[in-house]
């Protein structure tokens, strides 16, 4: 899958490739090292649409000036870099350069914009911050957003047109037999799953199931006892911790803000920690995305819990992460604030951000997640909610009559399409059937011919809560036996 725009960087040189100055130079975009460039080479980097900062840095800590550029979808932005001439003959000039560079390192590597050209890179525009949909005031946005979900998620890799172009085509998260023990206690054991790029993956389970520990493990905060994982294409290991953390964002259950600092100061701090300089635009965009633009100068101590949660979300948006881990993002929020967070998540998923959502709220998971996983120390199941329902429950019809049926056992046994039945209230019945489309007309005919008033007949829908309770009940039973 192609990216939105391409940065093409050519390195020119005036010295032999064996010279000291022929060492590889690092290329930084928006403060993050994205690759390197050798002498007389041209390299290309995929970039998202929007404003970026480019800098070239030598391995000897010599820098180029920072150049900003606007990447437009489908275009190639060309830059050229070269070492500055350091004539040994004009020693005075060299000395001035040297002394000046101690203060300002802009003099060693020249970096120049060349031109912008079109390229058919077939990418869909994506820029998290610039295009984050603002949290809408109403709830109607959710339905329309959900209907626009890209297809093909269940297989693990998103294929929809709105999907974000991954750095590599593999899954965003690949977890294989991951286990974490704290002494005698097992936090989670033998957990395996994968999450596709652009997928919203729900991670459910009761208290103490190991959800937060899994997030912390994948976020390189704690080391797994055994097993392996790949996060944003990088193998999970202590050595790769910084690189992984550069590509992900984690929002813990408690936002953990510095209460004596303002909202903007909090975000400025974290922008700095992500190595982002000149982050004012990003901060403003992130605040706008969570509808906090007008509270930017407020001290965090003066914000309500819901607003603090939003600041925490804005913080995760700053670094434009490939994967966002949201640990109970709506915990403690009122319904309106929760809805706003839901809408933001929907907006992010439409932009192709991979979201790993830990939640206790099953309605939330059902509404937002492409797939869900149930963890109860071990991974109980993974799948789309519809698939899980089919796996766990037989299909059934719900019948509601005007008055109770005289002898329901005798009545339903006579209908061939009905395999089993059970009452669900005074005049409501749940019928187990193999094919509701065949059984429903047959049941309706039988009820009408028996002169029973029918208020409702339709396929019974099992909620995610039913699935959850069924799995947890299985676990409880297994422990008892």
């Amino acid at each position: 899958m192609a990216a939105t725009a391409t940065l093409s960087l050519a390195r020119r040189t005036m010295v032999s490739s064996h010279s000291v100055r022929a060492r590889t130079w690092k290329v930084e975009i928006d403060g993050s090292v994205v690759g390197s460039i050798s002498n007389q080479r041209t390299v290309e980097f995929p970039v998202k649409a929007g404003q970026h900062l480019l800098r070239v840095k030598s391995t000897r800590y010599l820098l180029s000036p920072e150049e900003s550029f606007e990447a437009v979808a489908g275009q190639v932005v060309k830059f050229s870099c070269h070492p500055r001439a350091l004539s040994p003959i004009i020693f005075t000039r060299w000395l001035i350069w040297f002394l000046a560079s101690l203060v300002k390192h802009d003099l060693w590597i020249g970096l120049e914009f060349v031109n912008t050209s079109s390229a058919d890179i077939g990418a869909t525009s994506f820029a998290v911050l610039e295009n984050i949909p603002k949290i809408p005031a109403g709830a109607s946005e959710i339905e329309s957003s959900l209907s626009a979900r890209p297809s093909g998620i269940g297989s693990g890799t998103i294929t929809g047109t709105a999907a974000r172009a991954p750095a590599n085509p593999r899954s965003a998260l690949v977890v294989s037999n991951l286990t974490k023990r704290f002494g005698e206690r097992t936090a989670f054991s033998d957990v395996s799953f994968d999450v596709g790029y652009g997928e919203v993956f729900g991670f459910l389970g009761p208290n103490g199931a190991g959800k937060t520990t899994t997030v912390r493990t994948l976020g390189t905060l704690i080391a797994p006892t055994s097993g392996s994982a790949t996060v944003a294409g990088i193998p999970l290991s202590p050595e790769n911790g910084v690189e992984i953390r550069q590509r992900i964002a984690i929002m813990p259950e408690s936002p953990g803000l510095y209460l004596r600092l303002t909202v903007t100061e909090n975000l400025e701090y974290f922008a700095g920690l992500y190595g982002l300089r000149h982050a004012t635009t990003r901060i403003n965009d992130a605040l706008e995305a969570v509808n906090l633009g007008d509270r930017a100068s407020d001290l965090c101590a003066s914000l309500s819990k819901g607003l603090r949660q939003r600041v925490g979300l804005a913080r995760t948006l700053l670094s434009d992460p490939e994967i966002m881990f949201l640990d109970e993002p709506t915990s403690g929020l009122d319904p309106v604030a929760s809805l706003e967070v839901h809408n933001l998540i929907i907006g992010l998923r439409q932009k192709g951000v991979t979201i790993f959502l830990t939640t206790h709220r099953l309605d939330e998971a059902e509404k937002l997640c492409d797939r869900v996983a149930f963890l109860n120390t071990t991974l109980r199941t993974v799948g789309r909610t519809a698939e899980l329902r089919e796996q766990l429950f037989k299909r059934s019809l719900r019948v509601k009559t005007l008055e109770p049926i005289g002898d329901p056992a005798e009545f339903f046994t006579r209908i061939l399409a009905v395999e089993d039945w059970r009452p669900d209230g005074a005049n409501t019945y749940v019928l187990t059937v193999s094919d509701p489309e065949v059984a429903a007309p047959e049941v309706t005919r039988a009820l009408v011919s028996a002169d029973v008033g029918v208020l409702f007949i339709g396929e019974a829908q099992h909620s995610l809560e039913d699935v959850y309770l069924e799995l947890i009940a299985d676990d409880a039973e297994a422990r008892r036996s």
């Binding site: 190991g210 937060t212 905060l221 700095g272 920690l273």
Partner: protein, 249 residues
């Protein structure tokens, strides 16, 4: 060779200094503590009998001078003790550890933010003291102070070094402590042994000369660097996140 990112370091230092400025208790202690440590030396100098011999005066002024060095010991130890356990108590440590910030950047950034105001205030107090001596002290006493070259050199060289010691020791305690108050008390205690050098100079066990001052400064620098390395190794993300007991999700 560890690689440090200047942007991240700058972010840590800037945020810490901003946070100090907003915390009333820190601002008040930063104002009161130097005044407290300035009073005793100033009074001592002004009550000194100028009729005494110059050698007696020379010895007499050593203690008031070195007394001011305690600013660089006491102030950083309380601030440094807060650095890690304080973040954990206010719930900001975990979000911080989820960023690309390296352990060394965290320690050096936090340490620098503690050292900058502490050393700056120490130097400000030294300056004020010397100015007061120059302007108001008896000429014989002033001469004794300004002719104590090795002690003055030690005062200026030792301030950042003893502050550095207090910072790294305070952070070491903070990494392992479970409460801010415990960390501050232990940090203060742990930072005191370094004042032994001061004591040895003050009571005349070590005769203050320029080479001795420089040698002690070099020794303190080595101790600081070794301790810094030890603290870096003590910094364990997992332990900091989950504490001594494993948390449940």
């Amino acid at each position: 060779m560890m690689s440090l990112d200047a942007t991240r370091l700058r972010a840590v230092v800037h945020k810490e200094l901003l946070d100090y400025r907003r915390k009333r208790a820190i601002v008040v202690s930063m104002v009161l503590l130097p005044i407290l440590f300035l009073v005793e030396p100033v009074v001592s100098i002004f009550v000194a009998a100028p009729s005494e011999s110059s050698s007696a005066l020379d010895s007499f002024v050593i203690l008031p001078l070195l007394y001011m060095l305690l600013i660089a010991v006491v102030m950083p130890s309380t601030l440094a003790a807060f650095t890690v356990v304080g973040e954990r108590e206010q719930g900001t440590l975990e979000p911080l550890l989820t960023t690309p910030l390296r352990e060394q950047e965290f320690i050096i950034g936090k340490g620098a933010a503690v050292m900058i105001p502490s050393v700056a205030l120490s130097y400000l107090v030294y300056g004020l003291f010397l100015l007061a001596v120059e302007l108001f002290a008896h000429p014989a006493v002033a001469t004794a102070v300004f002719h104590n070259g090795p002690i003055l050199l030690a005062l200026f060289l030792f301030a950042p070094l003893v502050a550095g010691w207090s910072v790294v020791v305070g952070m070491a305690v903070s990494v392992r402590a479970s409460e801010v108050r415990v960390a501050q008390q232990l940090g203060m205690l742990a930072s005191l042994p370094i004042t032994g050098v001061v004591l040895l100079l003050a009571i005349g066990v070590i005769h203050p000369t320029f080479p001795v001052a420089i040698a002690f400064a070099a020794g303190l620098l080595v101790i600081d660097l070794i301790t810094l390395r030890i603290v870096s190794r003590m910094f364990d993300r997992e332990r900091l996140v989950i504490g001594t007991k494993a948390t449940r999700s």
